[in-house]
Symmetry: C2
Subunit: 237 residues, 2 copies
């Protein structure tokens, strides 16, 4: 089913570059124009894309993807948002909700701080398990070893032994933290939301600019995020 693969590639490219036309897509994907156009027509017929604005030769994705996406983690999101709001109110900082997927954690919801200097990550972004607060919070309850530990900054944990020790501390403490390990100027604390079987299904975090996170605040936010995650763990059980 090669054509399905190419059609989905076209869909992704449309979503990334919309509004966009046949020729540019073909160039970006390295495919013949005819193939791309057939894919576009088919995606249109299936209701996943539509002509953008007045012009009929440029395309953009419809809400079909949203309908598909939101049915997945919907229960989790609905349960989490009120808790996230309270957490933001108490901390005044940006709150993220992420879920593990493959070798990464994926951002599925966020509430931003109202402070002028803030972390802004796009929904759907994937962060490494070993170099993010959410990733480490999840990893601590996953019982899985990672093959590679690439460095992103000076403080990224790249030694498997050191990572194991860190995860042990996370389990004892209840929350994971991040001291500029993915981006040097971002700090965070995170705690995992566990399913009935003890497996991590998601993670909550409080993220701030590194310059704003003092040690006292780190401990305080850590307690708060652990409480919030615990609330969700229980409400899902």
């Amino acid at each position: 089913m090669q054509n399905v693969i190419t059609a989905l590639r076209v869909l992704e490219e449309v979503s990334a570059r919309q509004p966009i036309g046949v020729g540019e897509l073909a160039r970006l994907l390295g495919l013949p124009k005819s193939t791309v156009q057939r894919s576009l027509r088919t995606l249109h017929e299936a209701g996943w894309i539509r002509p953008a604005g007045g012009e009929v030769t440029r395309w953009q994705v419809t809400s079909k993807a949203l309908q598909v996406a939101r049915r997945t983690e919907l229960g989790l999101r609905d349960a989490a948002v009120p808790v996230m709001e309270e957490l933001r109110q108490r901390t005044g900082e940006t709150i993220h909700l992420m879920v593990p997927e493959g070798e990464a954690v994926v951002l599925i919801e966020r509430l931003e701080t109202d402070k002028p200097l803030r972390i802004v990550l796009p929904l759907g972004i994937r962060l490494p398990l070993h170099a993010s607060a959410n990733g480490k919070a999840v990893l601590a309850h996953l019982g899985r070893a990672l093959d590679e530990l690439p460095a992103y900054t000076d403080t990224t944990i790249t030694d498997a032994r050191a990572l194991r020790a860190e995860l042990e501390a996370v389990r004892a403490r209840g929350y994971a933290d991040n001291r500029g390990e993915w981006r040097a100027d971002i700090a965070a604390v995170a705690s995992a939301i566990l399913g009935p079987d003890g497996a991590p299904i998601a993670s909550l975090s409080v993220s701030t600019p590194a310059s704003r996170m003092t040690e006292d605040q780190r401990a305080q936010y850590g307690e708060l995020v652990t409480q919030a995650a615990g609330t969700l763990t229980e409400s899902l059980g």
Copy 2:
């Protein structure tokens, strides 16, 4: 490209019924098992679905759909959420953000009230243009006539002439309202967010149980939602 169509149908069905296996999907879609399985394999290869939990024979969608979905209305959503939050704070009621698409408006974001009796609509839901506050707010700036006006409740406007008069009032007033026209026990007020060319690109609403919306509140919420939509119209211009 029939196979693309069927693969996308399979994807939608997986998202609606996940976690789900080959056989049940084939029955639901009326397709041969082999066809469904080929689609599943292909979708898996493309990274849109993954085995659910421990079992390798049940499937669920990945965050791919979220990544595609969220790049679409992302700028709008990011701009709208803070305004929506303020609006909820002022009204204490559920706030919806919807965009026009085809013959309907689609819910792309919501903030819920904390009151125990509340409206809860799923993200991605489609509401009729002529029988919802958001729909009428959009329709008032769309300059398009509808072919059919199906009735949902006793109060649904089914007469084209009456609808035109209503839309004229909406334009004069700045906001549209809904008096149980889609569901008898839901009331709302909504105001359109306009693009630089005056075309409606989205709509904000305040939704409450019909029992809670007095005439005074309707007018008050109407003013607030109109102000909020105006703020967004300007910030996008």
